[in-house]
């Protein structure tokens, strides 16, 4: 059995067909070729699959693809404006806030969601907001520095 789902993905209208038991993560990766979101655990513990649904941060491994019907999905692939990287993306590179990079898409999506809610977070707020995004390499602290640098740049803009 398959279901047609109509959504907006990174600003574009997208219809896709999926199975009713398929996760949003698998649909994004397998059906739409958006492989930026990763599966690190499948249980909502690691945050590598983070995307936003209508602006709300979710673990896409815990959302069924059919639940995205009529919703706006934002993934890491939509962060840069063409060739121009988002300030968070630039700051992560500049501050060495990524290493192997597999957790990075989820952390960037989560950090963007934080800054949209809280443009001037404390270090503590960043640490706790991103506590659900595991990095094993581990880039902690540098990640906080990068988010703060991007936040400062975005406040100036």
């Amino acid at each position: 059995m398959s279901v047609t789902v109509s959504t907006t993905v990174n600003g574009d209208s997208v219809d896709f067909v999926c199975a009713p038991d398929e996760t949003l993560l698998d649909a994004l990766r397998g059906r739409l070729g958006l492989t930026g979101a990763k599966e690190g655990c499948g249980t909502g513990d690691c945050g590598a699959c983070s995307v936003t649904l209508n602006g709300r941060l979710v673990c896409s491994c815990l959302v069924l693809a059919v639940e995205a019907e009529g919703q706006e999905i934002a993934t890491v692939e939509g962060m840069a404006a063409g060739e121009t990287l988002h300030p968070l993306q630039r700051a992560f590179i500049d501050h060495a806030a990524l290493q192997c990079g597999i957790c990075t898409p989820g952390i960037l999506v989560a950090a963007k969601a934080l800054l949209e809610k809280t443009p001037d977070p404390s270090d503590e707020e960043v640490r706790y907001w991103l506590a659900g995004n595991l990095c094993r390499c581990t880039g902690y602290d540098k990640i906080v520095r990068a988010v703060q640098a991007a936040a400062a740049e975005m406040r100036r803009a």
């Binding site: 698998d26 990766r29 249980t43 692939e77 500049d94 290493q99 597999i102 595991l134």
Partner: protein, 750 residues
């Protein structure tokens, strides 16, 4: 930023600079392709079914139900698994391990693959595996020290000696003013790279393409090929990015072999991606140790004897004993040192190398024991370590190729403010009333190298391409190796194309043991110098060149030009030299390997000193690391920005070892009860404070031609002890078991 003076001077200006990683833009946009991101046309999904018992046999499975599930294409069990050209129970090479590829119905640990389902979708394969509902004839699980079989292994680690020592321990203890015997337990830890072990296999006749993360790309092709009876060069293994490895992604595992087999049998590409839960068993771990340290101390606080014994756990069917006691061989001076090992066989998967194998567990015990010795002597822990500073390697008497540990102690202590530390524990509280303690540990890691080779080609337009099968698992090989290659070629990194990350390239050796930058880097360095020498040969033999007559040793390569060494007004660009010679390119090759003479003459070790502040809630016993500073001396630093990440990452692994990580077995079933990220604790952003890594300059002309020692693992080693010793200083409770738990410290608080 640390000193980035070019050393040796023949290296150009880019090596030593804190460049941002070259793969950064791909990784922040989601465009970096990891193995599981590959989705070839017609691909099937494979899911292993795993054992729910720890020892015994599988007596039945409902294969019919699995096969009948819509979308299931094939179900493999020991009854129908097609033959392999190599017995999965035979070890291949130095790094090969026994694996489970459905060779029989036995179960030797919980989580072992016992069947393999291939289906049109991941959901169908997962459901098919669940429908198998295996039945077992179970035997009692042996997952504790009491139930495991104690034995004497032949070797520890990868072929290391069981026992190493010098001097008379008993005489040293007898002569001591103070004697100390102290015991430690370290837990099972699992690598848990964020990227699960994945593999996409595609056959084309007898040619095989593998997309899989691997830390030893060319070596792995040889191992994979052996199971399928094809030449290694028939395999194209693509591993441009690894989502972390930490030692768990070097040798093939059973599920990977079965994936390749299924792809061949079914004539379609097949993808495997282990679930997080399936990574607790068949892909290695850092095994438990039980360690005992016996120390003798004279009246001045100097060691008279140091005996470090470690009992390591391994599986019932293969051997990997953590070489934990090795940490005591090289760090502190003592007239008598003995390091010994034995083993216990348990019904677990076989352990393996996990970031800083040996040193991580061993130094955790040693650094706490050293602090206890300092306490017995009434000495400041730093003063005690300095009193026992090894000027030469204690057991061998060899000089160190370089050793700036004293400078590490000094710089770290100064940055931390160690001088104002009260000697006695439980003297400090912060403004919120938290018990506050300061601890330190010495970091040490050896500097292995692996045979590596590389090519460098200077092209007609004056740019270059360098080639080696490097593995970037986050440490920064794409960047640091390119910097080394570019420096040798006298070019900026952006003029150098770097082909890496797949197997149809010269063998870059193993990305492990903190030896990749040194090994593959030396190969690239030599290849670059070889290409420059060939270019210089063209110029110096060409009467029309301003460099005519210089000889190929009489030139310097810089910024795409060759200069006469003794007269820099004479120079010519690479493009001009090649154009006049009518050549499209010149090619150089190079190798990297340890010089046996330097290994024979010198002790080769990187060092560091880590300082930690821990705050303990006096009512709840909750422990938080609030500050951590490490100072490290690891030879020449190719890229301080990336090296800093490695140091900090290692220190956080140390914090994690001290406070978080432990896989816990159920004694009845033998299963790991916390085999996922909900139960297996790794640190998160909220656990980690502001941290600093200080780089201490070290010129090492002996360790290798680059002077590089390696930075990937050392950060863990002093850090576990630093955190544990800070807990003691905060509370007066001395940890002897890791991770330190709230219930351990609570009694000392009431």
């Amino acid at each position: 930023m640390p000193d980035t003076l070019p050393f040796p001077p023949r290296m150009g200006s880019n090596a030593g600079q804190p460049l941002s990683r070259r793969d950064g833009p791909l990784k922040v946009t989601g465009a970096a392709t990891f193995a599981a991101d590959n989705h070839p046309e017609g691909m099937l999904y494979a899911v292993p079914a795993t054992a729910a018992i720890a020892r015994g046999r599988v007596t039945g499975m409902n294969v019919a139900a699995a096969r009948a599930h819509p979308g299931v294409v094939e179900v493999y069990t020991p009854a129908n698994r097609p033959p392999l050209m190599h017995d999965p129970d035979e070890k291949l090479g130095l790094f090969g391990m026994r694996m489970e590829a459905l060779q029989n119905d036995s179960v030797r640990y919980a989580g072992q693959p016992i069947a393999f389902v291939v289906a049109e979708t991941l959901e169908a394969a997962t459901e098919g595996a669940a429908l198998l509902a295996p039945e077992y004839a179970a035997e009692p699980a042996r997952v504790t020290a009491e139930t495991g079989e104690r034995y004497t292994p032949e070797r520890v680690g990868f072929g290391g000696p069981l026992s190493v020592g010098a001097g008379d321990i008993e005489a040293g203890l007898a002569a001591a003013a103070h004697r100390l015997e102290t015991r430690f337990e370290t837990p099972d830890q699992y690598h848990n790279a964020m990227e699960p072990h994945a593999l996409v296999a595609q056959w084309d006749g007898d040619k095989l393409t593998l997309d899989t993360p691997n830390q030893a790309i060319v070596m792995a092709c040889g191992l994979f090929a052996a199971y399928f009876g094809i030449p290694a060069e028939n395999i194209h293994l693509r591993s441009p990015f690894l989502g972390g490895g930490f030692g768990s992604k070097a040798v093939p595992t059973g599920a990977q072999i079965l994936t390749i087999l299924a792809a061949r049998e079914l004539g379609r590409p097949v993808k495997l991606a282990l679930t997080r839960q399936q990574m607790f068993g068949p892909v290695g771990h850092r095994a438990r140790t039980w360690q005992t340290l016996r120390m003798g101390l004279d009246g001045a606080g100097k060691l008279t004897a140091l005996h470090h014994h470690s009992t390591g756990a391994t599986s019932s069917f293969d051997d990997f004993i953590e070489p934990a006691a090795a940490a005591s061989r090289t760090l502190y001076a003592s007239p008598a040192i003995l390091t010994t090992h034995d083993g216990i066989r348990l019904d677990t998967g076989t352990p393996g190398a996990m970031r800083a194998p040996g040193e991580a567990s061993g130094s955790a015990a040693l650094e706490v024991a050293i602090d206890e010795a300092a306490e017995v002597c009434g000495m400041n822990p730093l003063a005690f370590r300095l009193a026992n500073y090894a000027e030469v390697e204690p057991i061998t008497g060899k000089p160190y190729s370089s050793k700036a540990l004293r400078e590490c102690y000094e710089a770290g202590a100064k940055a931390f403010g160690w001088a104002s530390r009260p000697l006695a524990p439980r003297q400090m509280r912060d403004e919120a009333g938290m018990l506050t303690g300061w601890g330190m540990g010495t970091a040490v890691f050896h500097c292995p190298m692996f045979p590596a080779s590389a090519e460098a080609v200077i092209r007609a337009d004056g740019t270059a391409v360098i080639r080696t099968s490097g593995a970037d698992m986050g440490q920064g090989a794409w960047t640091a190796l390119a910097q080394i290659g570019a420096a040798a070629l006298g070019l900026d990194p952006d003029q150098v194309e770097f082909e890496s990350g797949h197997s149809h390239l010269p063998d870059a050796g193993v990305a492990g043991g903190s030896g990749h930058t040194a090994s593959a880097g030396q190969a690239l360095h030599n290849a670059g110098e070889d290409a420059v020498a060939r270019l210089a040969e063209l110029a110096s033999t060409d009467p029309a060149s301003p460099l005519y007559g210089t000889g190929n040793a009489g030139v310097l390569a810089r910024r795409g030009r060759l200069y006469a060494r003794d007269d820099e007004s004479r120079s010519e660009s690479y493009a001009e030299i090649l154009a006049r010679a009518g050549k499209p390119q010149v090619e150089g090759t190079g190798k990297g390997a340890r010089d046996p003479a330097s290994a024979e003459t010198y002790a080769l070790q990187a060092h560091g000193a880590v300082f930690a502040e821990v705050k303990v809630d006096p009512e709840l016993g909750q422990m938080r690391v609030s500050r951590m500073i490490g100072a490290f001396a690891a030879g020449r630093i190719i890229n301080p920005k990336l090296a800093r990440s490695q140091y900090l990452g290692g220190m956080i692994w140390g914090l994690s070892f001290a406070l978080h990580e432990e896989a816990i077995h159920d004694r009845r079933t033998g299963r790991i009860v916390n085999a996922d990220f909900a139960g297996y604790h790794v640190p998160v952003n909220a656990d980690v404070p502001e941290m600093e890594a200080i780089m201490i300059h070290e010129d090492d002309p002996h360790v290798n031609v680059l002077g590089v020692k390696g930075v990937g693992e050392i950060g863990i080693t002093g850090s576990v002890g630093a955190v544990a010793n800070a807990i003691w200083h905060a509370t007066g409770f001395r940890p002897h078991r890791f991770p330190v738990r709230i219930e351990d410290v609570l009694p000392s608080l009431s």
